[in-house]
């Protein structure tokens, strides 16, 4: 079982990223649950999307022992990485996150939003870049399934740019 929490600010596309990750797991023939919590705002406000992937039935839908926390804002690090064990993966977008808890050993400092804006012209694809980095790091789902799941969810005409965003994320995590 792998438990992942994708956190940031409302509008960064993290709920959609969680849905895509869970759909990719189903394509891999696994079980998956996605859930989220958010405030009443449509944009802004802390937002988290949680995904649990397992070979077996998943009972409790919320993450209790995270293996990975993605944090796309400083508030998200402060709020949602508290229960991450020392050897858990913390993945931060250095565009927005300046400080990380000292006890964590496994921190990926990735300039997600900065890089995607520079290379693809829009911050909009940051969530897909993050997915690429998560898949490359955790192998939670296959690259084939995440690609299929992304293409299934994104608007027509944006397939190529989303594929490039995914590749960008995979490459970022490899560094």
């Amino acid at each position: 079982m792998i438990e992942m929490r994708l956190s940031g600010s409302g509008g960064q596309g993290l709920i959609l990223a969680g849905i895509i990750l869970a759909e990719a797991a189903l394509l891999d023939g696994k079980m998956a649950i996605q859930s989220q919590s958010y405030g009443p705002e449509a944009r802004g406000g802390a937002s988290k999307s949680e995904v649990i992937i397992s070979e077996k039935a998943i009972h409790y839908p919320k993450v209790t022992n995270p293996n990975l926390v993605l944090a796309m804002t400083q508030e998200a690090v402060d709020k949602y990485s508290k229960d991450l064990p020392a050897d858990g993966i913390l993945m931060i977008d250095t565009t927005f996150v300046k400080s990380v808890p000292e006890h964590l050993k496994n921190v990926y400092h990735l300039p997600i939003t900065e890089k995607v804006t520079a290379e693809l012209g829009k911050a909009l694809f940051a969530n897909i870049v993050a997915l690429g980095a998560i898949v490359a790091t955790t192998k939670a789902v296959s690259v084939e399934s995440i690609t299929t799941a992304i293409l299934h969810r994104v608007p027509k005409g944006t397939e190529d740019i989303n594929k490039r965003a995914l590749e960008l994320g995979i490459a970022l995590a490899a560094k």
Partner: protein, 375 residues
């Protein structure tokens, strides 16, 4: 062809309604139920149905009562504040015997409370929210697939007994996404309403068959009758006599009570050799499965009786459970609601312990395990 999808509980509820043959939705969107309205707005025109966003929740349920009288299968969806507003018409549909289904995706209350956080605080409101003596059927799904199947079941029961059926979801189940296999809707048996067997001139709108349920004529088909929230006789017109009052109220209760074994639905999980029974429902049941698996690994004999139909309450089954186990634990996301019903049914045979949580967070499996170990 069956399809494997990742759906939210709310989406599965809306799809279940479409699969059951619903062609009319009226309501007012409210978190955390909004996806039901959103999906019905998209899906109903695709199947030749109608969606109306009304001015408020009261109008939403009023419109579905009217549409049901014309023979449509109907749905409205809401959360706590809207559920409060709908209570008056729930009573009206109960006494006027109009089949309707109301989905209530529970959030923290009272009042506007915590719009995006889960709770199970409307369970007693589901039972007694509308005034006066009345029967209630309320179902609580604990998974996304069950949101689909129980929504179809809600229509079967609502059409059969001619009464409102409440789908009591909570934010956990309504908003979580998990795997569901959706069958081809053509393979799903659509609940059918019992129609009149006599012509319009002989038809008495509230003359029951031997099952206590009167056949129902659709408005607009030549049958005319009076629909009222007042106590009425077989003609449908108000009748203020003691005899008519007793007869109607007794029949409304009897049509449900005589079939209670058919209506009652529950699941037993690892209960065979259990010394500790967890009685729970909805989203909290998800914690219970996990906590029970953890406890069993430590050799603690615990199992779950999961309420699927919460109303009518399965008193007989809980009484039998109380004979079998040493203690009953009732975890709920409220200050203690269904625990009172469990205590009543257990009649003091075993201790019944509430585990109430009302801080807007779900009960985690670890918390529940710790509670069980400290008994």
């Amino acid at each position: 062809m069956a399809k494997v999808l990742l759906l939210q509980g709310n989406q599965a509820c809306a799809e279940g309604a479409i699969a059951a043959g619903v062609t009319f939705f009226a309501g007012y969107p409210i978190t955390p139920s909004t996806e039901i309205a959103e999906i019905m707005a998209k899906r109903l025109p695709e199947v030749g149905g109608k969606f109306i966003q009304m001015e408020d929740e009261i109008a939403g349920i009023g419109a579905i009562v009217g549409a049901s009288l014309t023979g449509k299968k109907v749905l409205t969806a809401t959360s706590g504040p809207g559920f409060s507003l709908k209570q008056e018409f729930i009573g009206y549909a109960t006494i006027a015997e109009v089949p309707i289904v109301i989905a209530n995706v529970q959030r923290v209350g009272p009042s506007t409370g915590q719009p995006t956080a889960p709770a199970q605080g409307d369970m007693m409101q589901a039972r007694w929210g509308t005034h006066g003596d009345h029967p209630v059927i309320a179902l609580t799904p604990a998974s996304v697939p069950e949101c689909f199947t129980l929504t179809i079941k809600a229509y079967e029961l609502s059409e059969k007994y001619r009464m409102p059926v409440l789908l009591m979801l909570d934010e956990i189940i309504g908003h979580m996404r998990e795997k569901i296999e959706i069958p081809d809707y053509d393979t799903i048996e659509k609940p059918v309403r019992k129609g009149p067997r006599v012509g319009p001139s002989e038809f008495k709108a509230y003359e029951p068959d031997s099952d206590g349920v009167p056949p129902m004529a659709d408005f607009g088909t030549g049958y005319r009758y009076h629909v009222t929230g007042l106590v009425h006789d077989e003609t449908g017109f108000p009748n203020g006599s003691a005899a008519a009052t007793e007869k109607l109220l007794k029949r409304l209760h009897d049509k449900v009570e005589r079939d209670i074994d058919k209506i009652t639905m529950y699941e037993e999980y690892k209960l065979d050799d259990a010394e500790i029974a967890i009685v729970t429902y909805g989203g909290t049941a998800r914690s219970a499965y996990a906590a029970i698996d953890m406890a069993r690994e430590e050799g603690i004999k615990v199992g779950m009786f999961r309420l699927i139909s919460v109303w009518p309450f399965p008193e007989k089954e809980i009484a039998q459970l109380a004979e079998k186990v040493k203690v009953i634990v009732v975890p709920e996301l409220n200050y203690g609601q269904m625990v009172g019903e469990v205590k009543k049914a257990a009649e003091g045979k075993v201790p019944v312990k509430p585990m109430s949580k009302y801080d807007s967070e779900p009960i985690s499996p670890k918390e529940l395990l710790a509670f069980v170990k400290n008994l």
